[in-house]
């Protein structure tokens, strides 16, 4: 991806648009959440990949964005806002359907008492199984979660999280298995 495209992508991903959402009326664009995938060198200080949210995209919901060590940038999850981002363990992939893009299919389930959120993204294909193993990671909040944005005494945060499973599109870096647990 060329430099111009990178800029276009990151701007598209992270640039504030006009919105009637209460937060965008008061705050500038903001990067939220952060997780780093480190290189294989245990003493290395350069990341292979960064995950972060850019608040302020369509409808003021923000995007989960990924920056790779090779300079490529892409939207990992469109219309998502990242809260806390955590990397999960490498685990065997779940059985997943074959084929191309599978539209989002969000399923609500309880994740124990209190507030929690789990989002997992599955993409089928035997040939990608190893890649999925290396990319078990944690990310953001789907656009549906916009209803959870709450402003309480001028403090903005995501509350009342629930547990989601969904199937989403692949990204530039290939199909991924993505899960997210928000701990509050």
């Amino acid at each position: 991806m060329g430099r111009t495209n990178i800029r276009d992508t990151i701007e598209e991903s992270c640039t504030m648009r006009s919105s009637h959402h209460i937060i965008t009326q008061q705050l500038p664009p903001v990067s939220t959440g952060l997780e780093v995938v480190w290189g294989e060198n245990p003493q290395g200080t350069k990341p292979e990949r960064l995950f972060f949210g850019c608040y302020g995209e369509i409808d003021g919901l923000g995007n989960l964005t990924t920056a790779n060590a090779d300079g490529t940038i892409h939207q990992t999850m469109h219309g998502a806002h990242a809260g806390t981002i955590l990397l999960g363990p490498q685990v065997p992939p779940l059985p997943a359907p074959m084929g191309d893009y599978i539209p989002p299919d969000m399923e609500l389930s309880q994740g124990g008492a209190g507030s929690s959120l789990s989002v997992s993204e599955h993409k089928g294909g035997h040939g990608i199984a190893i890649f999925v193993l290396s990319l078990f990671m944690i990310v953001a909040v789907h656009r549906r979660c916009r209803k959870y944005w709450k402003a309480k005494q001028h403090r903005y945060s995501m509350v009342n999280h629930e547990c989601y499973d969904f199937v989403g599109p692949s990204t530039e870096v290939g199909p991924t298995t993505v899960s997210y647990v928000e701990l509050r």
């Binding site: 937060i23 952060l34 399923e107 124990g112 701990l183």
Partner: protein, 256 residues
């Protein structure tokens, strides 16, 4: 404020989640400006829990607000002070795994006091996700906080505001040693974040070596972008920071 750690079982669908630690801290904000220490060992007023962290099986919460150590004669004379602190969360059954809110003062113990002032105008403000922990060669646990500070002017008149990382060894107490905090990475941010606290905008991620010592730090800095640093702590507990890089700038463009 609710906080919960879940264990995840990935071989089921939906992913099986089981509660591992859960607490619901509630701060009692009674109007006790005259004598808040009556019958209490620690006194809190308008305290806001901010960020939680876990390290070696222990649980911590950062907070800010008015605080007084009731067992300290000097602190008693000073009265309530605007304070930034880190407390240890009790794992007693009365404090966790209860569906009822528990009192902040009953279920936490002050562990490290980073800052205190009688002048509220010298305030600092913590973001939600800006707390992380490492070990250090001195054997002491180190805390890293993402802190908003006023640097000049009046906040209400759009004074200067900056975000930077505070690093402090566990157990320090500002009232006894006012210079335990080491700071790095100051960057100007919008004053709007003072009036509107925005969670998850000051996250810190560390890369630790095989001893649990930090070798790199990454952070989001509100509207200023994403920054990374090479870091090292020596045996005296002195933090060295070098090789700052900006990954995402204020205009949201990645610097390659």
């Amino acid at each position: 404020m609710n906080w919960e750690i879940l264990t995840a079982k990935y071989d089921t669908r939906p992913i099986g989640l089981q509660s591992f630690f859960r607490t619901n801290l509630e701060v009692q904000n009674s109007d006790c400006m005259l004598d808040c220490c009556l019958g209490a060992s620690h006194s809190y007023y308008k305290v806001e829990p901010r960020t939680y962290a876990m390290h070696d099986g222990e649980f911590f919460v950062s907070w800010e607000g008015f605080y007084q150590n009731c067992s300290d004669d000097i602190a008693l004379r000073r009265g309530l002070q605007w304070t930034v602190g880190i407390s240890r969360i009790s794992r007693s059954t009365a404090c966790v795994f209860t569906s009822l809110p528990v009192k902040f003062e009953d279920c936490t113990t002050p562990d490290t006091i980073l800052f205190q002032s009688a002048d509220v105008q010298k305030w600092t403000l913590l973001g939600y996700s800006g707390l992380t922990v490492s070990q250090s060669p001195s054997g002491r646990r180190m805390f890293y906080l993402s802190v908003i500070e006023r640097t000049s002017g009046n906040i209400e008149a759009n004074g200067m505001v900056q975000n930077q990382i505070w690093v402090i060894p566990e157990g320090e107490n500002y009232s006894k040693n006012p210079h335990p905090v080491q700071k790095f990475g100051p960057i100007a941010i919008s004053a709007d974040f003072v009036r509107n606290v925005f969670d998850d905008a000051g996250t810190i991620r560390l890369r630790l070596d095989e001893h649990g010592y930090p070798i790199a730090a990454y952070r989001t800095a509100y509207d200023a972008g994403i920054f990374c640093y090479s870091v090292k702590i020596d045996t005296e507990g002195i933090l060295r920071v070098w090789d700052e890089q900006i990954f995402v700038t204020r205009s949201r463009r990645v610097v390659l």
